[in-house]
């Protein structure tokens, strides 16, 4: 494990070097570190953010100084605290507990051509029919490796290698919320109207980001995700239901 400064008010705890080699284990380990650090509530730490192989620790150097650390020693002190927390919680019992706590979320997706302008492209590249693409995409189990880009955008690991498709040469200026896309070896859902370069293959009627709720996102890092193919009628019905929330 490596701990490196991200400027003067954050550190990055690098739990593993690579993500692709073992996404499941890496995620579990990163989330474990994230939860250990959260429950440790180290003084001066403002927030934590897990992403793929790392947990970022944002802190207030002024609070650190109030805790009695000299300017030159705040980072060293924090690094020690982090190492201590992670070492203390390293037993296998806790790891199993965290594994059990992983949530499973099912996301209904309509793969109708109206919502899937790039489905044909993805199929052509993969040498598959569009139905095969939909089947492959909706049968797999994914995990949220990271949330970022825009609030609630979930990067999902676990896409069938056959479906990996490079991003579009020219990103779209505006992508409708709920759009499900493929970008390289990952799949994900656009929660908000935003620009984007991923290949769009469907849309979910679910609202993935709602600032009126806390937590504001439907998905969290580590969640297990499955897509369930739905008809356009089902999409419209669910969409109406979401609007009343």
């Amino acid at each position: 494990m490596e701990i490196v400064p991200l400027g003067d008010s954050a550190l990055i705890v690098r739990v593993r070097e690579r993500f692709e080699d073992s996404p499941e284990e890496t995620l579990d380990e990163v989330l474990q570190t994230f939860q250990q650090l959260r429950s440790a509530a180290i003084p001066g730490v403002i927030e934590l953010a897990p992403a793929y192989t790392t947990v970022a620790v944002f802190f207030d150097p002024v609070a650190g100084a109030k805790a009695g650390e000299r300017p030159g020693e705040v980072l060293g002190w924090l690094r020690e605290q982090i190492l201590h927390v992670v070492a203390a919680g390293g037993d296998r019992g806790k790891r199993r507990k965290i594994k059990r706590a992983v949530r499973s979320v099912e996301i209904p997706v309509c793969y109708d051509p109206e919502f899937a302008p790039d489905l044909d492209d993805v199929a052509r590249r993969a040498g598959l029919s569009t139905k095969e693409v939909v089947d492959l995409h909706s049968v797999a189990e994914y995990r949220v490796a990271c949330i970022g880009f825009v609030p609630g955008f979930s990067f999902l690991a676990g896409l069938s290698k056959k479906l990996a498709t490079p991003r579009r040469d020219t990103p779209r200026k505006e992508i409708p919320p709920g759009s499900v896309g493929i970008g390289g070896a990952q799949t994900g859902i656009y929660p908000l109207r935003s620009p984007g370069g991923w290949n769009l293959i469907g849309r979910t009627p679910l609202n993935l980001f709602n600032p009126k709720k806390n937590p504001p996102t439907l998905l969290r890092a580590g969640d297990r995700v499955r897509f369930r193919a739905i008809t356009k009628e089902a999409f419209e019905t669910l969409k109406r239901g979401e609007a009343f929330e």
Binding site: V4, P5, L6, G7, D8, S9, A10, I12, R14, R18, F19, F34, I46, E47, L48, A49, P50, A51, Y52, T53, T54, A56, F58, P61, V62, G64, A65, P71, G72, V74, L75, C146, I147, G148, F149, V150, P151, G152, F153, F155, L192, S194, F209, P211, K212, N214, P215, P216, T217, R220, A221
Partner: protein, 320 residues
């Protein structure tokens, strides 16, 4: 308070949103949070009260009731009727009076505090507008002509209710914008992915601010910074102050609206005390970068906090 003219880009901001990075929610907030804190203290507000961030001026406000106002930031011409209100001074506005912001000579942003603060709903712990995700602030958007903005209850301040104060906040706090500034930085997490020549270039050459800059980040033209390797990096956290280098080789300095994660190599991190200067950068400004240690970055930050504490005490003695 009525927005007669909204100007180029004016939004409600406080000190930003924290604790939601794991959900991809950016900090937002005043790009120079220190300037907003000083302006708030000047008008008797809590330093975290919501104010207005004004970009490139053009804002014209009319007040429905008596308020104390103060602003800090770039070099703007600001008027109450025909009377100039310099940065860092407080002014007492009567009902019906108008406050006008011209275009800046130096810098591009300033922060206005109004006694009582801007009263918009708290969304996810903050009154800041998230202009990328369109929530928070005033209806999740920047202000428009004709908007009517609620203000909080006026603090029961005994400040003498006449004209413009003769005393002021320290000049560097009220007017942090500089022509061709130097930004101090600490080594970036990925600086080892650049060779020594590139690092030297970064630390020695001037970079020109591109017109393509916004609240997410300042983009630079000029020398292209080449990487040693071409390995795809795994995305990880970025923060305001991070300087990342995309494949074009043209560095981007991230500001308060930046996304929470990024996959470009991070060559440097501008120190927190200089983020207010970075927030003033506008097209064709020239910038140089100068390396400091993290210990110095922390020392400078703590010194500034101690001075702010003294300033706060001074203000409270003055009004008592």
């Amino acid at each position: 308070m009525i927005v007669r003219r909204a100007g180029f880009l004016t939004s409600v901001q406080d000190l930003g949103r924290t604790g939601l990075r794991e959900f991809g929610v950016s900090t937002s907030g005043a790009l120079d949070s220190f300037a907003l804190r000083v302006a708030n203290l000047l008008v008797g507000n809590d330093e975290g009260a919501a104010g207005l961030e004004i970009t490139l001026g053009g804002l014209q406000l009319r007040f429905d009731d008596e308020r104390i106002v103060a602003w800090c930031g770039g070099e703007f011409d600001v008027y109450i009727g025909s009377t100039a209100l310099p940065a860092g001074h407080t002014a007492f506005l009567r009902a019906g009076e108008e406050l006008k912001f011209g275009r800046p000579q130096i810098g591009c942003r300033c922060w206005l505090a109004v006694s009582g603060g801007i009263d918009v709903p708290i969304v996810l712990g903050s009154r800041s507008t998230d202009l990328r995700a369109n929530f928070g602030g005033f209806e999740g958007r920047c202000l428009r002509d004709g908007d009517v903005i609620s203000l909080g209850p006026r603090p029961g301040s005994p400040t003498p209710a006449t004209g413009i104060s003769s005393w002021t906040a320290p000049h560097d706090w009220a007017s942090p914008a500089k022509r061709d500034p130097i930004l101090r930085f600490g080594r970036g997490i990925d600086s080892s992915r650049f060779n020594d020549v590139t690092i030297q270039h970064f630390a020695n050459e001037a970079f020109t601010v591109s017109p393509d800059s916004d609240r997410m980040g300042v983009r630079f033209d000029g020398l292209e910074l080449q990487r040693e390797d071409n390995i795809d990096l795994t995305s990880e956290a970025v923060a305001p102050g991070t300087v990342q280098v995309p494949p074009s080789g043209k560095p981007i300095l991230l500001l308060g609206d930046c996304q929470t994660i990024g996959g470009y190599p991070k060559i440097a991190h501008v120190i927190t005390v200089d983020l207010g200067i970075a927030a003033q950068l506008r097209a064709v400004d020239h910038v140089r970068f100068s390396e400091v240690s993290l210990a110095d970055a922390h020392r400078l930050l703590l010194e500034r906090e101690r001075e702010l504490e003294r300033f706060r005490i001074g203000l409270s003695l003055q009004s008592s």
